[in-house]
Symmetry: C2
Subunit: 278 residues, 2 copies
Amino acid sequence: MSVTIGGATRLYAIVGDPIAQVRSPAAYADVFARHGIDAVMIPAHVLPDRFDATLRGLMGLGNLDGIVVTVPYKARIVPFATRVGPTAALIGALNALRREPDGSWTGEMFDGAGFVHAMRRRGGALVGRRVALFGAGGAGSAIGCALAGEGVASLAIIDPQRTRADALAARLSGAFPACEIGATTRVPAGRDMIVNASTVGMRAGDGLPGDIGDLAPGTLVGDVVTADAPTALVREATRQRCIVVEGRDMVVGQIDAMLAFFRLAPEPSRAASTAAAH
Amino acid sequence: MSVTIGGATRLYAIVGDPIAQVRSPAAYADVFARHGIDAVMIPAHVLPDRFDATLRGLMGLGNLDGIVVTVPYKARIVPFATRVGPTAALIGALNALRREPDGSWTGEMFDGAGFVHAMRRRGGALVGRRVALFGAGGAGSAIGCALAGEGVASLAIIDPQRTRADALAARLSGAFPACEIGATTRVPAGRDMIVNASTVGMRAGDGLPGDIGDLAPGTLVGDVVTADAPTALVREATRQRCIVVEGRDMVVGQIDAMLAFFRLAPEPSRAASTAAAH
């Protein structure tokens, strides 16, 4: 979907490094056009050694109303928020910042809700699932939090930075005592849901995020990576006829909630979004 | 003309305050589409008290390749350039900044060339003209410089900041000794070209930039203001059947030169651009 840009067009920026792979500018162009909103989402390639100065500059633009955040900045951006919503507060990461009328900034994390929404649209039932989750960064934290909130039975968190996996497990265990949550180094036996929330798959030639073994029929597989070609995990899951959610589905799955957060559309009701899935 | 934005789309920003009136985003969308360039020009509303921090932030974006500058920042942005071209050096103002492969920034001023090009397309002959020029800021300096370079006979510069008008007159007199150049407070008798390069006309309800008297047949009139409705000066000049160039014509008139400056198209030859006018 194409957009028309004029001097009065309002700006939203998606901030990340790298940036060429992001899907949000195209997805939001579509949504803005459908809603008749004179706004555009631009890709903003923010370099790690210039993060603070670049963010301050972007947030100083008088016609920039919101920021969407992707890898690797979902945790690093938290101090730029004047206040954060409950999910962002729990996991210490956010992927959306909204400018308030008084010039302050409110942040919240929608990756988890987007992932769950996308999986529900595919018909994947989450209650009671035994989940292996690769990646304890911003997206992994958000998805782990959302899955625990949806009633999965267990969550095994795998991250090369073991302390990061431990910290996320501890935090989610405190918030969701009914879910069996722990950090580990490999996919435990008997998993019926695999989620990659690591960056493995972003680079061409990347393999699987880890040994996933054979996937039982009915296994749910998610991969947050957005890339032109399907990742190795998505290809393998598709070959084994799993229900699959990709990064682009997660982006689309959170658009309604994010539009409401940006005050560009009414709050989606869960009933309505569930109904829309059928 | 609409544009399609993806993660790999390159950014150009037009920087100004206010910003809603600018024409460049739409004009460049058209040109980028015609040339098959995956780029977009975004309006960037930079507030005066955040100018330095916002510019540093924008210039830190890894996917921003160039900046176009409009009111009131054409002089204030000069220190952000690592080096400037000859016109910018002469008048101390610029309206385009290009990122070099080594990360440095080169600036140049194209308003004057754009104005002259637009006037030539309308059939306005400039040699020997007696010009009254309102506004000795960035655009006025650029246009005054370009008109003197085109061989106008005289240039009377009018600006509420008299020292600014005096300084411009002195600088241009040194560079163009054959042209009679001076600062004044009102339009002298016998002018056959009137140019408004002040901000008068940007606000709805603005009148003329000054008393322009009766316009003789064949008078050339230019107004750098870009607004949805014609300015009072443009309306009056149109009523008196003058040859008129507006702000949007000046934007379009400099696009080819600016595309070449941004290394997005080959350098336009003067012969080619003159030929294209017929």
